[in-house]
């Protein structure tokens, strides 16, 4: 027994000795020499298998169960019974599409007698476009600006280059504009874009490299100065440089920037989508914020498109197409307006006229020659934004 004691010690077994367990025939070593085999008889047979026996089985069962869940939970691509489409969208549309999806599922049930589910994914518009290029299989994309869908066409050939002509109004079922959100009582006296360039005013806007909203923000301010200085680009650049000198943090998406301003209380003024500003006032505000409508701003047209390649693969082209077309219907427009997007449909627009004040709006085509050109001049690496942002640090 001495020998056994030593082995037990070495194996840091608890010292209370148990009688050696009866030999398990399954553990027999076939190629043991006779005398070695006899010493194996005395070998303490308390193995990990024994010690962890119960947990082992439980863990095994757990793994099996979860694997079964996993297998059951995986999306099956072409089952006729339950269709599912994925809407990859930008940051501030979470609530809009949560509402709209419920309405569309109902609409489609009535129209095609088919039960569908709609999945959503949200993030900075540019980041989301990148994800779709990398293989996030969106059936439809609803982005902040046309360029982010152009990229899907040019770089990954996921849809035809003329996608924007496939739906009315440049494929933008709703519009918005860029406004300024300030704290209650407007302590810094912000009235228009030029107040953002004043020293001592802290401005919150997201990063134009990753956020579509931020690009609209940038172009709105740029356009304001272009109009004021009769097209002097140098003046506009200097103006933007002064504004970005006042920006303490660049969030990656518009919603992140809103959270920074509203919930973390950073900054004097948030350059925001009108819909973000309105919903901040409606939901979080309780009179804590005021919206300042600038003298002039940009007409923001967030576009939507079916991603042909993925929709074809999933067999969901008809649903995806109807999903976007229904946005233009009275019901879709009403939901957009309720979520603070400016509706295109005249009847709905009149109903919500009080919420959306008239202001002078310029378009991106008018001042910047379209998104492709604006993107390369201002936001690509080495473009005007890089120059301005580095200069302002």
């Amino acid at each position: 027994m001495k020998q056994i004691g030593v082995i037990e010690n070495w194996a840091t077994q608890p010292a209370e000795r148990r009688a050696p367990a009866p030999r398990d025939p399954a553990n027999n070593c076939v190629d043991l020499e006779p005398d070695a085999a006899s010493s194996m008889n005395g070998f303490p047979e308390r193995s990990v298998g024994e010690m962890f026996a119960a947990p082992n089985k439980a863990a095994g069962l757990l793994i099996l169960l979860t694997l079964a869940c996993l297998a059951g939970g995986l999306p099956r691509n072409s089952s006729a019974a339950e269709r599912s489409i994925l809407n990859v969208s930008y940051d501030p549309t979470r609530e809009l599409y949560q509402d709209y999806n419920v309405a569309f599922v109902n609409y489609w049930k009535g129209k095609a007698d088919q039960l569908i589910t709609i999945k959503q994914s949200h993030g900075g518009s540019g980041k989301q476009a990148r994800a779709v290029i990398d293989g996030l299989e969106a059936d439809v994309v609803t982005f902040a600006l046309a360029y982010d869908i152009d990229v899907l066409a040019t770089r990954a050939r996921l849809l035809p280059a003329n996608w924007q002509t496939r739906l009315p109004n440049n494929s933008s079922p709703y519009t918005s504009t860029i406004v300024l959100l300030v704290r209650k009582g407007n302590p810094k006296g912000i009235k228009d874009w030029d107040d953002l360039a004043r020293p001592g005013v802290s401005v919150i806007t997201p990063n134009p490299k990753t956020s579509g909203g931020a690009r609209w923000n940038y172009l709105a301010a740029y356009g304001y100065e272009l109009k004021r200085s009769n097209g002097d680009e140098a003046k506009a650049r200097a103006f933007l440089k002064a504004i970005f000198k006042n920006v303490p943090v660049l969030d990656t998406g518009a919603r992140g920037a809103t959270t920074t301003f509203v919930q973390r209380g950073i900054g004097d003024v948030l350059i925001a989508w009108e819909n973000e500003a309105l919903s901040s006032v409606a939901e979080d505000g309780k009179g804590k914020f005021e919206i300042i409508i600038p003298s002039i701003s940009i007409l923001a047209e967030p576009p939507v498109a079916v991603v042909d390649k993925f929709a074809k693969r999933h067999g969901t082209e008809a649903i995806a197409k109807a999903y976007l077309e229904h946005l233009y219907s009275e019901e879709g427009q009403e939901i957009a307006a309720r979520n603070h997007y400016r509706p295109r449909l005249e009847s709905v627009a009149q109903k919500h006229a009080a919420e959306f004040p008239q202001l002078k709006l310029f378009t991106i085509d008018e001042l910047f020659g379209g998104w492709q050109k604006a993107q390369t001049t201002h936001f690509d690496d080495g473009g005007t934004f890089d120059e301005i942002y580095q200069g302002s640090r």
């Binding site: 070495w10 010292a15 070593c29």
Partner: protein, 305 residues
Amino acid sequence: MAGTIQSNLKARRTASRRGTEEPAFVKWTLITIGLAFALLFLLVPLVNVFYQALEKGVRFYLAALTEPDSWSAIRLTLIIAAISVPLNVVFGLAAAWAIAKFEFRGKAILITLIDLPFAVSPVVSGLVFVLLFGMQGYFGQWLDDHNIKIIFAVPGMVMATIFVTFPFVARELIPVMQATGSEQEQAALTLGASGWQTFWHVTLPSVKWGLLYGVILCNARAMGEFGAVSVVSGKIAGQTQTMPLRVEELYNSSKLSGGTAAFAVASLLALLALFTLGVKTWVEWKTRRNYELAQRAEANFQSQI
């Protein structure tokens, strides 16, 4: 981290002796500072998570957790942990075994490689997989042609999790295996046990507490990982969102109740942390007790001969 166990052991054994000659007020000042920091930076945020989560009552709390997208996030988190932790146990055991028991060329490189995930930013760990398996990546076209989805689906998320949690088990086991040495195994082998028997009956029992400790840490990280998983997830609500991603999504929702719901899910992660700490303490206690028992048994044995 096994180092901590060791030093804890030592601390306990020398606790009866006077540790320092400093006057009492120095001791108490240090204790106060330490406690105050722990309270301020660790306990208050933790309590706040539960306070915020239960702000709107237990019913809202339960509703927030069982809401389909959150529930799916909880399920997915468990699935990912259930796949990646066992795999890392196997990898970790193999790697630790190789490092602790054998001398070979390139051993230093292997040790460095195991530590790599600790050194690499989680964002990069995620991007690596996008660059490999994304549609524009090296294998992207092939995967796309065969309709195999890795990125923005569960397999990619599992891979990213395995990458990030790789070091935990191996790192725990290497010092324990090195400390035990190979005498026992050699003894077992001379007594005629096969390699597999030796591993199962001698090696594994001697490292089981270190192994359990590694598994617990590995699991905590697997469930809590945000960065790497976020990059490869695609953030599809109800499909590829894990608990940490769900917390962010809910917090970013402009709905008033979003914050509370976010903290409800976060409270589960906090519970996981508390559970991890509990098991960790228990394992340390167990290790210490085993050590003392072994010491006593050896003393007994010595006195017997």
